[in-house]
Symmetry: C2
Subunit: 313 residues, 2 copies
């Protein structure tokens, strides 16, 4: 028989966006901002968190690149009308009503796509809302702006004085003057972070610490791995606790295999591992692909990926 349907996945691009707003005390304000974002077709709310002490909210939306771009703009626009930095105080450093806004590739998009989204958003925010925009992390155009802490140094009040005078504070988009109430914004791109722990069959903490050091970037190990050793006292075992800061660059299975190999050096078995929080399906598919030694496996062979673009956010 011959198939008469070609419904291979055409576009299942998924981007996450995690804007941080300087509002942690008025849920009704956050609701308005979130409402503006989710009113955009194809934008889905994954999470929203508020902290009164920090006076800050972290919102996670997901969807196609186009819809997330539009949603992020709508959120920033609404926040700029609702949050007044001259009246804002909280423990967390901040420089804008929308303080930071990173794009995160989730599926079928590269970091370069997310950098492009950051640039497009920055351009709109700068020109239409007249808020100065600093591109940061992977989207940074100056090496020193890769580090968000440096971009935000001095915060709203400091930046208000310096911007337009100090060329180091020239924004990448928008006017070289602070927005009187909405401040400034850092827009960027960063990889998805997976929190991943590997449990070892020993109560010897030094083994976990030694392995953590061996596998992490800073210890000469894997480029996109941060790791520390911990005790799990109630279980009488130890754990290598890992931040996989770029699961495409350093995949899960590679970290797992390296821990297993290093542990074997001490006669210690890996008794299990644990994914904390969310993980993109791709990270697990990559793992299956590795261990099954798959040849020519295509993502559109996954049945759920055939459900079609219009079923996706």
């Amino acid at each position: 028989m011959t198939s008469m349907v070609d419904n291979r996945r055409q576009a299942m691009k998924l981007v996450e966006c995690v804007p941080n707003f300087s509002e942690g005390r008025r849920p009704e304000v956050l609701d308005e901002i979130v409402g503006a974002m989710t009113a955009v077709e194809g934008v889905r709310l994954l999470d929203k968190e508020m902290d009164a002490d920090h006076n800050r909210a972290v919102v996670t939306i997901i969807g196609s690149p186009e819809s997330v771009l539009k949603g992020a703009f709508r959120g920033i626009e609404r926040a700029s009308g609702l949050i007044d930095l001259t009246k804002h105080e909280g423990e967390h450093p901040r420089m804008g009503a929308t303080d930071v806004c990173p794009f995160v590739p989730v599926r079928d998009v590269d970091m370069s796509d997310c950098v492009e989204l950051a640039e497009k958003l920055g351009e709109r925010v700068g020109s239409e809302l007249e808020i100065p925009v600093f591109l940061y992390e992977e989207a940074a155009r100056r090496p020193e702006r890769q580090n968000l802490a440096k971009v935000r140094k001095g915060q709203f009040e400091g930046l208000r004085e310096e911007i337009g005078k100090n060329p180091e504070k020239d924004p990448d988009f928008g006017p070289a003057r602070i927005h009187p109430t909405a401040g400034a914004i850092a827009i960027g791109a960063r990889p998805f972070l997976i929190a991943y722990n590997i449990n070892l069959g020993t109560d010897d903490l030094s083994v976990a610490k030694t392995i953590a050091k061996a596998i992490r970037q800073s210890g000469g190990g894997l480029r996109y791995v941060k790791a520390m050793g911990f005790e799990l006292k109630d279980r009488g075992i130890v754990q290598v606790s890992i931040n996989m800061v770029n699961f495409k660059g350093t995949p899960l299975f590679r970290a797992f295999e390296m821990v297993k190999s290093e542990a074997a050096r001490y006669g210690v078995p890996v008794v299990g591992s644990e994914i904390v929080g969310l993980v993109p399906a791709d990270a697990l598919v990559d793992t299956a692909d590795f261990y099954l030694r798959l040849e020519n496996f295509k993502r559109d062979q996954i049945l759920e990926n055939r459900l079609g673009e219009d079923d996706e956010v």
Copy 2:
């Protein structure tokens, strides 16, 4: 910070349904039948195939249990008005306008759910369309009806004579008489089939054949595995070609590991494996879970599964 959103996956149930229609020559007729099915909200067309010699079409739809149930009924209803078995001839054995209609669990549903769908559909088809219904495979109520070939023996013409006279031909639902034009229908439930090949680093076909025999159910091997050995002449290697007839009962990784272990007995490496066609994401997630030795991994930790029920078909 405290999350204010609980959007853990509530229901992402997915069922596949693969009705076979006795129409392989008039695409416009098939289009009408398919249109009736996909007009049901939440029903998505995965595939449709026609064969003129067989004079038969195989349609694959997917969606929530409720929508697929409704879609299947609409298709059977439409087919009963458009296909006349008294005028049908083709190479493939058949007994009805809609000849067979199996439900296949894909995600978050058990075989028992699909058996229930088969029963509900059978009840409606029998009472509303007055077509005699035979439950087959996993939905069979008589052991001999597990085998579709036995259910369909005699085909439309033979059944027309026997039904109502021979108690062995009493339908599970509907009247004990053939529908004058739409015939009878076999409705059932069966597992998803994964076509999976494992390539061995040798040109010795006997190794592949011996391993195929060792791992398959019929040779004393794995319960839900059918396997044969083949040569891949252009690559100078051999292959164990597997039908995984129930990937929940016998998972991919178990077949892979058993082939690897048996091959090692001959000093032969597994050089790769290959999934032919579609695979449910669950089969790959189960594989990652196994090799990473994951503890307490929940399906709703997969980011894509958080996209919410209303984004799904």
